[in-house]
Each structure stands twice: as structure tokens, then as C-alpha cells.
Symmetry: C2
Subunit: 135 residues, 2 copies
């Protein structure tokens, strides 16, 4: 698989894939006769996992630590386990914070909505086509 296809499948740019290789997040890719990167499916799986880490807000430097441990072999499994557990805890805390923010947003939105509804009510001496839509 060429870099373009991998980029399309992983939904990131080829630029980003080269950048990841440069910083060590991806191992140096095998090259074809013309020096072009050639990937197999396992790279896609790894990129997808990196995408999960990224979505959950893991900084690249931590992904690098994880990638280095993976490259170092099974002796680092406990360390990798612990890193993921610590990360999961942070993500859970973040989700909880988001949910609390969502509650605040809901309150605020409800406040605006009831204001708007009342304005619409105040409107009811106007002919229909001039009233504000209720949404």
C-alpha cells in the first residue's frame, strides 16, 4: 500500500504520515524500488490506534513513549499497561468534566429558548407572517 492509499484509509494526510515517521511515531517504512514507502495493513491498524489516543487527547510525546515501549518488546508490557490505565483515568475524568459542562450548556440554552418563546408570545398581535419562527 502506497502512502496515498494509507492516508485515505487512515483519514490523515500523507504529510502527517511522513511527519509521524520523522518523529518516530511510525517505524521507518519499507521502500519499493523507487524509494517510495510501501505499507502493509498492520500500519493502518497502528495508525487507527494512534488516532484513538489522539482523539482522547494524548500528547504526541506520550504516544512516542508508548511506541518506544512497543518497539522494545514484551518486557515493557506492564509499563504499557500502566500508561494506558493512567490515560484511561484521565479520559474518564475529562468525560465527566464535559458532561458537567453539557449540563451548564443545557441550562443556558433552556434560558435563551424560554426567552425566545416569550418574545414569540408577545408577538401574537402581529399577523402570522411577521411572527418569529418558534423553531
Amino acid at each position: 500500500m502506497k502512502i496515498g492509499e494509507l492516508a485515505r484509509r487512515a483519514e490523515i494526510s500523507a504529510h502527517t504520515i511522513r511527519y509521524y515517521e520523522r518523529i518516530g511515531l511510525l517505524p521507518r517504512a519499507d521502500r519499493d524500488g523507487g524509494g517510495r514507502r510501501d505499507y502493509d495493513a498492520s500500519t493502518l491498524v497502528w495508525l487507527e490506534f494512534l488516532g484513538r489516543l489522539k482523539t482522547t487527547g494524548m500528547p504526541i510525546r506520550d504516544m512516542l513513549r508508548y511506541a518506544a515501549m512497543r518497539a522494545a518488546g514484551p518486557a515493557t508490557e506492564r509499563e504499557r499497561h500502566d500508561l494506558l490505565v493512567a490515560h484511561r483515568d484521565r479520559v474518564r475524568a475529562h468525560v465527566a468534566a464535559l458532561q458537567s459542562c453539557l449540563a451548564v450548556l443545557d441550562t443556558k440554552i433552556t434560558g435563551y429558548a424560554s426567552n425566545l418563546t416569550n418574545e414569540a408570545k408577545d408577538d401574537d398581535t402581529l399577523p402570522n407572517q411577521l411572527r418569529k419562527p418558534l423553531r
Copy 2:
């Protein structure tokens, strides 16, 4: 309230508060005799709300739009409502994505954990003090 106290209470730095004022996220603060910023409680409330927007990933340029509408008065209430609803939808989608990532993390962690447990089992011909701790 001086900037230092506001900073402590809002849990952001005084630098950041001045920066927010500079870019228009906070209105220009009243000054005391010596030209120093003097705040009342409403600024703290506004900063706390901005913190919610920030936690939920709203970029500063959108906060600026919201702040500008607020400053423009009640005529912008529907627009503000709509902005918050759109934001809430994005946040909900993000929470869903995070939860899906958490499921992947859980699977990965369980995998590592069972590996580690099995290694501990494989250990059981060793004298106790050489076994890997089970945690």
C-alpha cells in the same frame, strides 16, 4: 477585586486575564486610582462560563463571537442560542467519540492485564520472592 484575586478564583493566570482583555474576550476593566484593574463578581461568573466553553473545546474565535453578541444586547439572543446549540451538538458528538475510544482502551488494557496475569501464572515454579507481583 484585583486581578490577582480574580486569577486565583477563576484558576487562570493574571497574564491570561490581561490577554483575554486585550483580545476582547473580557470588556476593558475599570481601573482604580493607580490605573489597576478592579473587578466585580460578574467578571468571575463570565470567566467561569468561558472556562466551560474552553473545557468543551470551543476555540477562542467562537467565544469572541459569543462575547460580541452579548455586548450587542438582547437582539442577538437567538443567534447566541443557536451558537450554543451547535456547540452542544459538537460536544455531545465528541463525548460519544471519547466513549468509543474508552471501549477500545478497555479492551487493550484487558489484553495486557491477562498477559501479565498469565506470565505470573507461568512463574509459579519459581520461589515466591522471584515471582512478578500480581498488583
